[in-house]
């Protein structure tokens, strides 16, 4: 008789959005390990059709309140590519500054309120804050500085309003940009401390080697330009993305799965992938910390992604400092002229959670006829399931509650942003007995 046990954990918590986990084990063999995303679909790709190109940054921002800038900037670049528009280096630098602000606030939210409680034995950042106020308050200060950057450059922290195809509606005052310097200097020093703190957490041991994919730029941390490379030797231009990766639908998720062609294999994007591939390009202080933090690169233990995220907080502060220290006067012009023409354009950037790809087709009047958006969580989904299968044999001997919390922790270490992908929170563990 086959042995079957069923465990159901109602809610997978501390991830952004709604998802669930379903596992079925029969006679010790894992039959199903599915990461279900049941976030209601919002059909962005379809509702963009017929909209004016100028509306796209504001609309796509609403895919995700945690990483709106990623959507805005990727959309802007894709449309500028479609129209053959070149922005100036000063505008590009300002955009990157806005992006670093988003990285800082997104990563510090995840590290302090969502992820660190797992390692320190708390159920949430709120209860962690009661016992370790200095840790959480430092995290909230990081987050506040990230938000401040977004306000200065983007006009607002959630869904910035100052981003336009071609640049910015209004140039942020040079004085306001330079006014960020003291906070950024504090932030860099404090983030390097954060790296030391989180690298001393106790991590469950787990090896999940993955094919890592990231956008590598020749100059600086991965962000908004360069070539898409992988740990398996891929090295392609951004506009070749769709020849090498394809989205697929699975019955148990409203998020599409992006897989690597030709064999439809899982791959990993995000902080761990970026650091595994692009450490050389990091700014000097962060690079020293990368070597000193005690991780044997490449990083294959997903739980340690919290260290990767902390390193990227430091990188974002260091890159931001470089940008604002160079600002001598208001950026003028802050927007280049954009004349729509019929065509198709694509772009990819590194969102806090990983590679984000957009493609748009536009009419001569500047109306969108087709949109494709491939967010990082869709790309990580298959890898998350693969890693769950890797984890399960070592934890199945435990009580159900512990199995579920270890699985949850693993999923949380990918910082899945589910709102993005549908464009999570139930665990059903079925140990047999139909």
């Amino acid at each position: 008789m086959s042995e079957l046990r069923r465990i159901s954990v109602k809610a997978l918590t501390r991830v952004e959005g709604e998802g669930a986990l379903r596992i079925r084990v029969r006679d010790g063999t894992i039959e199903i390990a599915e990461f279900n995303i049941y976030e209601p679909p919002r059909f962005f790709e379809r509702l963009l059709r017929g909209r004016a190109f100028a509306e796209v940054p504001d609309i796509t921002a609403r895919i995700c309140g945690i990483c709106p800038v990623a959507y805005q900037l990727t959309a802007c670049q894709a449309l500028e590519n479609a129209f053959g528009v070149q922005i100036t280096p000063a505008i590009a630098a300002l955009r990157r500054l806005l992006y670093w602000g988003e990285w800082i606030q997104s990563h510090s939210l995840h590290i302090h309120l969502l992820h660190a409680p797992d390692f320190l034995g708390y159920e949430s950042g709120f209860s962690l804050a009661v016992d370790r106020p200095e840790f959480v308050e430092r995290g909230l200060r990081f987050k506040a500085i990230g938000s401040r950057i977004m306000e200065v450059v983007g006009g607002r922290a959630v869904h910035p309003i100052n981003v336009a195809v071609g640049g910015f509606f209004k140039a942020p005052a040079a004085a306001a940009l330079r006014g960020l310097i003291p906070d950024l200097e504090w932030g860099l020093a404090a983030a390097l401390e954060l790296v030391r703190d989180v690298s001393q957490f106790e991590f469950p041991s787990l090896q999940c080697p993955a094919t890592c994919v990231a956008l590598r730029s020749d100059t600086g941390s991965p962000s908004d330009s360069g070539r898409i490379i992988s740990s398996a030797g891929l090295d392609i231009a951004i506009d070749e993305f769709e020849q090498h990766f394809a989205e697929e639908q699975v019955p148990h998720s409203t998020a599409l799965y992006s897989l690597q062609l030709p064999d439809r294999t899982p791959y990993l994007v995000g902080p761990v992938a970026r650091l595994n591939l692009c450490r050389e390009q990091l700014p000097p202080h962060t690079r020293r910390s990368v070597e000193a933090c005690g991780i044997d690169w490449p990083l294959v233990n997903p739980y340690k992604s919290i260290v990767a995220r902390a390193l990227e907080v430091a990188a974002a502060f260091e890159e931001s400092l470089g940008i604002v220290r160079d600002v001598m006067a208001d950026i003028n012009p802050c927007r280049v002229e954009v004349t729509p023409r019929e065509g198709t354009g694509c772009a990819a950037t590194e969102a806090p959670r990983g590679l984000l790809y957009h493609r748009y087709s536009v009419t001569a009047d500047g109306l969108i006829t087709a949109a494709t958006i491939i967010p990082p969580t869709s790309q990580n989904q298959a890898q998350i399931e693969k890693d769950l299968r890797g984890l399960l044999p070592s934890v199945l001997g435990f009580a159900d509650a512990l199995v579920s919390s270890r699985c949850e922790q693993l999923i949380r270490s990918y910082d899945p942003c589910i709102s993005c992908a549908t464009h999570f929170l139930t665990l059903v563990l079925d140990r047999g007995e139909a």
């Binding site: 209601p40 379809r46 509702l47 509306e55 609403r62 309140g65 159920e123 709120f126 006009g155």
Partner: protein, 260 residues
């Protein structure tokens, strides 16, 4: 006297942006945080303390049959239900499907539409259950949220203005983009609360706080048409983040009717 308010936070179809504003407000207002227990907040904590709750804060719109059922349970489990943001108060940007064909929307995004369970419409929470108070915006304004929570703690009515964004432009000294640059702006018909940030950045208000109380849409769009703005552009503006708000919906539909 109960000294702490018991708060629950729920998410429906949305982007999480309004919840993020709540986390920000919490960080900013430790004083408030000490007097509120967030007993249900799946995005932020693992522990769930069972209801009933004093206040349910609801983000997102209703787009699936399961969610239409879930909101009724939530209503039964709370004393006051407050909707947060354009999704919850006006269906959000995802309500653009309400003007299309849902099968076609699903098949445009998914290869196997049959796996997807969705309603043909995205509707505000108030279409399903009684709502006690709403905060507008995409996202909501942290200041308004803090005012709301403070008012609940003090047992008074929250002060949330119902006048238009124009009033905020004037009081902040922002230059009118409609008058000085001829940019069609929804500020005159949009509820205040954002601080007029878009006009202050030299661009149009796109109405994310939804229609203000006394909005005269026909007069405003008539004025812009006289200035040469095509009705389809004005129609698109009204059909964005608060497209399902009745005043915007009616005028958007009327403008559509004017098109050749």
């Amino acid at each position: 006297m109960p000294t702490k308010l018991r708060l629950a936070v729920y998410k429906f179809a949305s982007c999480d942006g309004c919840q993020l504003q709540l986390l920000d407000a919490q960080g900013k207002l430790l004083e408030i945080a000490r007097r509120i227990d967030i007993d249900h907040f799946l995005e932020a904590r693992s522990q769930v303390v069972e209801g009933p709750y004093d206040i349910a804060l609801v983000e997102g719109s209703i787009t699936t049959p399961e969610d239409a059922e879930r909101i009724r349970k939530i209503r039964r489990d709370c004393r006051y239900l407050v909707t947060l943001g354009a999704c919850a108060t006006a269906g959000g940007i995802q309500a653009l499907r309400n003007w299309g064909n849902i099968e076609e929307f699903v098949s445009a995004v998914y290869a196997t539409p049959s796996y997807i369970s969705t309603l043909a419409t995205s509707t505000p929470i108030a279409d399903h259950v009684p709502v006690d108070f709403e905060l507008r915006g995409c996202p909501i304004d942290t200041g308004q949220l803090v005012e709301l929570l403070t008012a609940f703690l003090l047992g008074r009515k929250p002060h949330v203005p119902s006048w238009s964004v124009c009033v905020e432009c004037k009081s902040s000294g922002a230059v009118c983009v409609a008058v000085t640059q001829g940019i069609p702006c929804l500020g005159p018909v949009t509820q205040a609360g954002c601080g007029a940030i878009c006009p202050a950045h030299g661009r149009e208000c796109f109405g994310c706080f939804g229609p203000s109380e006394p909005a005269n849409l026909v007069s405003l769009t008539g004025h812009y048409q006289q200035q040469g703005i095509p009705p389809e552009q004005l129609g698109r503006m009204l059909r964005s983040f608060t497209a399902e708000a009745p005043a915007f919906r009616a005028e958007g539909d009327r403008l559509r009717g004017l098109q050749p």
